[in-house]
Symmetry: C2
Subunit: 771 residues, 2 copies
């Protein structure tokens, strides 16, 4: 070897090493994301492969539990909202759509499973996996990171790797040598299954390696169709299916075909298809690409052609990782405890999983009216878990990515245009309104964006849609609410929660109207925003159910979460829900001292299990005293100390919540992540501030967990947070400086952020002495 | 009154009278159409309102019989293929889609029914009509003419009038004074219903007079959706629905709404909606417009806006009548017997009811792949009953409207493009292949058009699609047929019929190939066209089932239509099915004398009921001897005499068929009209010639029923037929002159027609003496 050659080789080595290092540096944050966090117990997250806000969530499903047994709701189904339970011993397969952290479910579409040996087309059971196509697996042979998931299917010796682009999931299956390799495509499988959930499925074998079709379901989304196109990297040898439809009286002239094997056109309610392959010892892995579309199979094919025209798994993974890195870098933080870093960036990850893109690469999408629309000048999103996400997730977007939030609002306005009710979404997904939970919190998302100067949507139109929504008299007690000033419990259940949330939403509408100088509208909604007072019983100091005749209901227990006029909460927590006017709330509740005492009690009193044990969204893990962090209604509560004389009382509690409710382990979440809301709470609180009343530009300060943080904003400015003397034993804030000037009150304004300020906390072991 | 005024008035009177007379003259042929012909017994026609080839067939349904009872086929359902049975005592309602004359069924979508009094949302039964929404009616208070239908609903005192444009049906309901007027929209109702037929229905009350939605069904079309938009001429007072879904375990958050009344968004499997109106003594009639679309509700609304933006019922009726008059004038005939005139123009009417337009006004339509396509430069049609219509209906179009036939072929080519099988339609409707009956007769339609010089479609592509279709090995025995030269009965039922029809179809492909100078292809298909010889058992003189091993099946009865290797026919009839080579057929069957004797026997022998009584498409009314005219396989048979030494033997038989199988009364048809094929046979035969082998330019002459006829062709020429000495007792032809020159053989060529010839028959009481 000549010196020249050695020299060249050395240079090459140096270069590639440097390149790898640069790559490593560039991808320095995604390593702090652990997709397994929240996959045990009730976090309801999934560990699979997805890109930020991607349409595809390609993830393993560990079981499929019927929504009901013998006509009665089966509570076990609740564990499978995201398809995966960390403690389950088997994997059923890998489906392409999952909600992250929701407390109700749907999706789990287009389940694929590679197997070896005798073909089995039923999933089998966890007890007897060998009876079905599912496989055992072990966590030490499983891994997950942003845009990547891997597992060894022990029963088959198949290594499965998954990655994804926005609309296309990619599978890489490394089979052992076999002449009996199969890939199952189960169009019957799905989350929250019940008899009749599958409405129709359609399947076409376009050629020896391409399949198209759709799955149409009823359920949480009443009328939902997912179109798909699937391509394999090598031709299948043969294929077939089993149809599990109810006994059909009508077969027509299709009876002349054996449709079960190598027949390219299948339709019916319940179809499980399979594709057969052979593999040598040294065969390349089998790669499968699955594209989805809300519009058509042609749309799915075009999406595949646009996003992943090739077969390079590593490239797709790399591109997905780069997208994640870019997303995570919207907030860079420094924290000493690696667990905190994992919790922070996994929260950032969970806060970027939805709402999801819901349109083809060409901008066409299915609207709420089931017609095909063109997203003109915006990206259309779906899956708005608004009762959760209006609180902190959308406010977070208004800081770190207002452009995306504007498009989410554009999507909601399109929804309202297409709605026969003229309503903004309540909880919408996949061209459907599912009406889940209460309130009309889309108005909060809009008001917050308007207050924070977010451009890119029609403000006037947004106000009008908000007004329409808030006046839909037949929706959930609104008629009575408008007439009486409260929702009467004898007319509409959970009446107190509704009254409280409508009052806040109406305040949000008033903010929009004020901003747009519509004074008479602002006046009406400011008036409505005081409705919370109508359900407050001064004699007991709690909100409680009121009847149509104006009297409070006599039976009442403020600790119970069942049947007391509230939803997923008790009066102790919900009575504090006046985020838009804490001052009046405090006054109403007897003033500063009394209110401080009440908050103190909330966090220290004991709440016996009986008061919440049948409430799906509240678990022991998510509770501190009687304060429920694992569910949303109290997410602002700890910050209410800021309006009292003792704001420092919030600080150790916030630190405690950050440390106990979010942990770096599969069972680390104190409750459902709720499509990013729990995570957004974490992100805000770890940064040291929180949007108590979205629609206001004010943030309440808390206790930062970060040592420092940097938020590069889209306006070119960078907002910086510094926590001096930070440490695990220093949750208290001695002083706060904004741009070097000490703050007198524990609040900052949105403009302080967007102007690129520096927020400096001085941390201490003990609370600051108060007046 | 001044003289001037009187004069003016007189002029005006004269003018309007003249105008009315001109109108009457212009509309002189539609009066000979009686839509009730074929509505009794098994004609399977419908009496309702439609325009030529219109997407809407708005017609009364007199009953709805389940396709099956307790899992077993219910033969009574067969009577309701077109929804209406003349002898039924009640009308259930008026639905918007119907097949004309088919022997199997689907459709009956979007049934509407106006009622008065207590709301009933079940149809009731014919026995107990008062228990449901149906109504009694009487034929003397009912009328039908092209584009118009009227009936008095006796139970409600409501006069119903219907008219239609291509994609929009219009209802005019004259209610009595009532504060309890209703219009029912039954989305569950439909022809050939069975449990699970309704897959999904969707309904939106867009405003107080507009409704949109869709009905998705399985059945004859496996995956079919009809989208609609409905507008009323005045607002409804209230509305509601009943959902008849199976017990649902899942209601989700929709349970918070009372969806049964005044709730604008309904979805489910089985929905019956209603709309309430009040009427005064002098209220205007209620008008309803129902537009349909294969694409979307937006498409339906646009279709309505394009075709009928107004509320003028009379204008729609007038325009529909004008379209019909224009259609009928493609053949003007003179006949002395008014019944013949009715039969002729009702045949012309029935021959213009399908295939139907299947695209929105903007050219978009749902393809076989369920994707939305744009009909680029052609009109897309659906409902191809090809086993029937290739014989005479499409050949008729090649004379009187080749442009439309070219677009039908374009539609079939688009179907093949979208087919995962790469196949031309067999029997297709509504973006589905239903695979009904046998053969691949689309190739015959194409070959006939090509032979007859029809332009406007891609001939090369059409040949390729034909070749693909004829080589789909898994379809109905084709693989074995290609390998063995016949379909073996042990592999595929009705094997002899298939072999015979494939042989003819292959000859048709050979004709195309020859025309396109593809000699090697022509050679292959000419060879395949002789396959009929393989199933002919010379020892008995009949075609009979052959097994894979080359032996004929031992058990065999040439009279029986059941289980003998034939479909809807017996060997006596089917053995004559070599339309492309009668000469060889005659030779194979023993020569001229023997063949004449065989034909004579066919028409005179007795066929006991047991041989056909369980064959749906064959009834006693449709039989002469053992000759079955009420079904298709023998439609060419009577013309086979032309290839013998005694062509005159066909002439009185043709006259007999024309007079007995087609009568001017509701029960006047000898069998299902089969989407115009029976009518096309009548039209050709009444004009004196018939296309025995579509794909050839040759027509066999018969015995004209007309005195004279004139066919104004689209090339500007006019073909004329004159029957001298015509009379009911003169079925025989003494001589025939083409353009004044006596014909030696009883055949003419297509060029004789298109060049605008004059065909003159000299009729006689007695047959011409033969050599």
């Amino acid at each position: 070897m000549s010196i020249l050659k050695v020299s060249l080789l050395f240079s090459f080595f140096t270069l590639t090493t440097a390149f790898a290092q640069a790559q490593e540096d560039k991808l320095s944050l995604i390593k702090y994301v652990d997709p397994f966090i929240g996959t045990a117990k009730m976090g309801h997250t999934y560990p699979g492969a997805t890109v930020p806000f991607g349409s595809i969530q390609l993830s393993p499903d560990t079981d499929t539990i019927p929504y009901a047994y013998e006509g009665k709701y089966n509570p076990d189904v609740y564990r499978y909202c995201a398809g995966y339970q960390y403690d389950d011993p088997t994997i059923v397969g890998f489906s392409h759509t999952h909600f992250s952290g929701t407390g109700h479910a749907d999706l789990g579409d287009l389940l694929m499973m590679p197997t070896v040996g005798k073909l089995r087309l039923n999933p089998g059971t966890a007890d007897q996996p060998d009876n079905g196509y599912r496989s055992r697996y072990a966590h030490d042979e499983e891994s997950a990171s942003p845009a990547y998931y891997q597992v060894l299917l022990k029963d088959y010796g198949i290594n499965v790797e998954l990655t994804s682009s926005t609309r296309v999931g990619m599978h890489r299956y490394t089979f052992p040598k076999t002449d009996q390799g199969h890939v199952i495509l189960d169009l019957k499988a799905g989350t929250y299954p019940f008899e009749g959930k599958n409405v129709w499925t359609f399947l076409r074998i376009e050629n020896d390696s391409t399949v198209t079709g759709y799955r149409q379901t009823q359920g949480w989304a009443r009328t939902r169709t997912v179109y798909f196109a699937l391509k394999f990297s090598k031709p299948f040898k043969s294929y077939g299916n089993e149809k599990h439809d109810e006994k059909q009286v009508y077969r027509g002239f299709w009876g002349r075909f054996d449709q079960s094997k190598n027949f390219p056109e299948i339709a019916g309610k319940e179809i499980r298809a399979y594709f057969d392959f052979e593999f040598e010892e040294d065969s390349d892995p089998l790669i499968a690409k699955m594209a989805i579309s809300p519009v058509s199979t042609a749309g799915a094919l075009a999406n595949m052609e646009t996003e992943i025209p090739h077969w390079d798994f590593e490239q797709v993974k790399r591109e997905g990782e780069a997208l994640w890195e870019q997303e995570l870098r919207k907030v860079t933080v420094e924290m000493d405890d690696p667990d905190d870093m994992y919790n922070f960036y996994t929260s950032m990850y969970h806060a970027s999983l939805g709402p999801t893109v819901y349109m083809d690469a060409d901008g066409s999408y299915r609207g709420l009216d089931q017609n095909i629309h063109q997203a003109d000048g915006f990206t259309n999103y779906t899956s708005f878990s608004l009762w959760d996400t209006y609180r902190a997730l959308h406010p977070l977007y208004n800081i770190i990515q207002p452009e995306r939030n504007a498009d989410m609002i554009n999507s909601m306005l399109a929804h309202a245009d297409q709605s026969v009710h003229g309503m903004l979404p309540i909880w919408s997904h996949y061209a459907n309104e599912n009406w889940c939970m209460i309130g009309y919190h889309a108005v909060s998302v809009i008001a917050d964006a308007m207050a924070k100067g977010v451009k890119g949507f029609d403000h006037e139109k947004a106000l009008q849609a908000s007004i329409n929504t808030s006046n839909t008299s037949y929706f959930d007690g609104i008629g009575d609410y408008v007439a009486l000033g409260y929702v009467p419990e004898d007319k509409s259940g959970s009446s107190v929660s509704k009254t409280l949330e409508y009052a806040y939403d109406d305040w949000a509408i008033a903010q929009m109207a004020t901003q747009l100088k519509k004074d008479s509208i602002a006046q009406i909604y400011n008036h409505r925003s005081e409705s919370y007072k109508h359900v407050y019983d001064n004699s007991i100091g709690f909100t409680r159910p009121k009847l149509s005749d104006g009297s409070f209901r006599t039976t009442f227990d403020p600790l119970d979460t069942h049947g007391q006029g509230f939803i997923e909460g008790n009066s102790w927590n919900y009575s504090l829900y006046v985020p838009h006017d804490p001052k009046s709330l405090i006054k109403m509740m007897g003033g500063n001292e009394s209110f401080i005492q009440r908050l103190d009690s909330l966090f220290t009193m004991e709440l016996p299990d009986k008061y919440f044990e049948k409430t799906e969204d509240i678990t022991r893990e998510g509770i501190i005293g009687n304060y429920v962090h694992g569910n949303e209604p109290s997410h602002h509560v700890v910050y209410l100390y800021n309006w009292t004389s003792q704001p420092q009382k919030s600080q150790d509690k916030i630190r405690n919540i950050l440390k106990t409710m979010y942990q770096n382990s599969p069972d680390g979440l104190g409750g459902n992540d709720d499509f990013g809301q729990m995570s957004a709470w974490y992100i805000f609180s770890a940064l040291g501030f929180y949007p108590v009343a979205p629609g206001s530009t004010e943030y309440a300060l808390g206790s930062p967990l970060v040592k420092n943080a940097s938020l590069p904003l889209s306006n070119g400015n960078t907002f910086k947070i510094i926590a001096k003397n930070q440490g695990p034993d220093r949750p208290f804030v001695k002083a706060v400086y904004l741009n070097g000037k000490e703050l007198k009150e524990p609040f900052i304004d949105h403009a302080d952020i967007t102007s690129g300020g520096v927020l400096e906390f001085h941390m201490d072991k003990k609370p600051k002495k108060t007046k």
